[in-house]
């Protein structure tokens, strides 16, 4: 089945070469980082996690987003998702692969990464995150591949795969919950110390993951004969729209708690992210334009996505999905992690700017993710189209 990835149009090969070139440039950056140390990044003693860990956090959400397809299809027998569910599973594989690469890129001693297995530490949330992420990767490879292979052979998938599919549903929830627990269990970091973090992660995941999927589905509709179907499209709009609204509701709760309680620690980071934080005689606000854009884009996206359905406009659908995706990418992929470090527990403010090498490595990991995704989607779509023909 994998051989389907080796035959493709010129466009396919140009796309793959483009991704490979980014991976190459980023690979060179990683060699530099490996030789010099993480000091080559913009991270500092005050802001100890940067764009790697924030991308990781966001991508866990993208991976968990696949749940919104698997759940209706396998549990509620919602047939309209028949063509798109495999795309969700395969996107989870690519997203988790990116997550793992971002973690490795962030380690000071990557050669010792397996110490996590050698000295298992159940009191550490990172230990559990390692377990749930690798488990979810395994489940999605298994379920996605077995189901697709059965379809390829023209038979129904074997019965033994069903328990794994059912297991993958709570597992998807667990990956983002445990990832939220990395942050929300730390005393002294007010911004993260909120019980609503895991629910908020899940809400944004269930919007951002399917939104990306929808954009890809629309691209595929244009470039190949593969069409996920109008009904699936419309259903996804509901899912994305409500999940995105839920995320903003949770964000509003955060705002209320911080500004009504007037507890400085709770307000400071929100000040820094949305209004600019005055500290001494300086104002720190390097993330303010991003965070405001995130809110505007997110709200606009929610409005437009329902308009797109009413008008049955694929163009508007793509635009609104992109708005929602980038809104949540900023919210979680920038603000959440970076904001948590401002101010520091000793009340200092250090702003973080990623270095060129850091951005290179980040781009390369995204490119690797899309490379994996392209191969998997190529296989999946070839099988589906072959069956149609």
């Amino acid at each position: 089945m994998i051989e389907k990835a080796l035959k493709g149009s010129t466009g396919y090969w140009v796309w793959m070469l483009f991704l490979l070139s980014i991976m190459g440039v980023g690979g060179l950056s990683y060699v530099q980082q490996f030789n010099y140390g993480l000091g080559i990044t913009g991270m500092s003693r005050d802001v100890t996690w940067g764009i790697y860990i924030s991308q990781f956090t966001f991508l866990v959400g993208v991976a968990a987003g696949g749940l919104m397809l698997v759940l209706p299809y396998y549990i509620h027998n919602y047939k309209a998702f028949g063509r798109i569910v495999i795309l969700g599973e395969f996107m989870a594989i690519a997203a988790i692969a990116m997550c793992l690469m971002f973690i490795i890129a962030d380690l000071g001693q990557p050669m010792r990464a397996l110490n996590v297995l050698l000295h298992p530490t159940p009191n550490s949330m990172l230990f559990w995150d390692m377990i749930v992420l690798n488990g979810y990767l395994f489940l999605n490879i298994l379920c996605g591949w077995v189901v697709l292979q059965s379809e390829y052979k023209g038979i129904k998938y074997p019965r033994w795969i069903k328990p794994f599919i059912y297991l993958s549903i709570p597992w998807a929830v667990s990956i983002h919950t445990v990832t939220a627990f990395l942050y929300c269990g730390l005393p002294g970091r007010h911004f993260w110390l909120t019980a609503i973090l895991a629910p908020r992660f899940l809400a944004s995941a269930f919007a951002a993951g399917p939104a990306l999927l929808m954009v890809i589905a629309m691209v595929l509709k244009r470039t190949t004969k593969f069409d996920v179907g109008r009904e699936a499209q419309d259903k996804l709009v509901t899912i994305i729209g409500y999940a995105a609204m839920l995320n903003f509701f949770f964000l509003g709760c955060e705002f209320f708690v911080a500004y009504y309680s007037q507890i400085p620690g709770h307000m400071h980071t929100l000040d820094y992210l949305f209004w600019g934080l005055g500290h001494g005689d300086q104002v720190f606000n390097n993330l303010v334009p991003f965070m405001r854009a995130s809110v505007v884009m997110g709200l606009a996206g929610i409005a437009l996505i329902f308009v797109s359905r009413a008008k049955q406009s694929d163009g508007l659908l793509v635009v609104s999905c992109l708005l929602i995706f980038f809104s949540f990418w900023i919210d979680k992929g920038l603000g959440l992690v970076l904001g948590g470090f401002v101010p520091t527990p000793m009340d200092y403010v250090t702003e973080y700017y990623p270095s060129a090498q850091e951005l290179g490595i980040t781009a390369a990991i995204w490119a690797t993710g899309f490379f994996i995704l392209s191969i998997l989607y190529k296989v999946a779509i070839s099988v589906k189209l072959e069956k149609d023909a």
Partner: protein
């Protein structure tokens, strides 16, 4: 016995077992290593005191009376422990350092403060918490709590994930962003003079104050405390020994701790 009743009994039995086992399993999970977290001293339901618990009293007034003393403590520590000086804030590594009051106690909001507070050199270092969040966060047990109450590190095992740095509510941890054994642009080594008795660290690991475990083991007191012996600006010792100097000081002086509300139970006490 009909099958329904048997099933019911089975389930009831299993539930009972789970009910008995779960709390203890949950406790083990939360505590991790048995010695990673002991019951906090004082507060609700204080546990019986066993073993040593090292602590330190920092008498800030004495540092004001002896200008330069605080910096001498810092230098002594950093020299003994081969702590590099990169000359910039981004890469900075420090085990103990001089801070101002509003950064050590940012939670305090006195309406008016004594003028002297502004200039007061206050030493900040690892609080060797009785309930350390860093130890809870570490995925490899590279940082752990010893029987003596010291929060220590095994640099061999650290993978450099910096979870402990995010977890530390006192900013006490530093990361080796670059090779500490390297040289700057002018060819000057970052570690000015190597102490042959103590190792350095490598790139990519986290480091912090170890309460001079290596010195305590051979009967010496911590390097910073040694510098401040004359003035008694720093008092170090076993807080579980009622006869120790620190126990006496803690009994007779009013001390404050950094951010006590978050339940870390620091072993550092400040007399302001």
């Amino acid at each position: 016995m009909n099958s329904k009743r048997r099933d019911f009994l089975k389930i009831a039995g299993l539930t009972a077992i789970a009910g008995i086992a779960a709390p203890s399993a949950f406790n083990t999970l939360l505590k991790g290593e048995a010695n990673a977290s002991s019951a906090p001293a004082g507060g609700h339901g204080a546990a019986a005191v066993t073993g040593k618990r090292y602590g330190m009293v920092i008498d800030v007034k004495k540092f004001t009376e002896n200008p330069g003393l605080a910096q001498q403590c810092v230098t002594a520590c950093h020299t003994v422990h081969n702590v590099p000086d990169f000359g910039n804030r981004k890469d900075e590594i420090k085990w103990i350092w001089v801070e101002s009051y509003n950064h050590v106690f940012p939670e305090n909001t006195q309406y008016k403060r004594p003028d002297s507070l502004k200039e007061m050199p206050i030493l900040a270092l690892c609080n060797h918490c009785d309930n350390p969040p860093c130890v809870r966060a570490c995925p490899t047990k590279a940082t752990y709590k010893t029987k003596d109450g010291i929060v220590a590190m095994d640099y061999h095992r650290c993978i450099g994930c910096r979870f402990c740095m995010a977890a530390c509510p006192y900013g006490a941890r530093s990361f080796n962003w670059r090779d500490p054994r390297g040289k700057d642009a002018n060819g000057q080594p970052f570690i000015k003079e190597l102490n042959p008795k103590f190792p350095a660290r490598m790139r990519g690991v986290v480091e912090k104050c170890n309460f001079c475990t290596e010195r305590l083991a051979i009967g010496q007191i911590p390097a910073c405390v040694e510098v401040a012996t004359q003035t008694k600006a720093l008092v170090f010792g076993d807080m579980n020994d009622p006869e120790s100097e620190i126990s006496q000081v803690l009994k007779t002086s009013f001390t404050i701790q950094r951010n006590p509300a978050i339940g870390t139970h620091p072993s550092l006490f400040y007399i302001i």
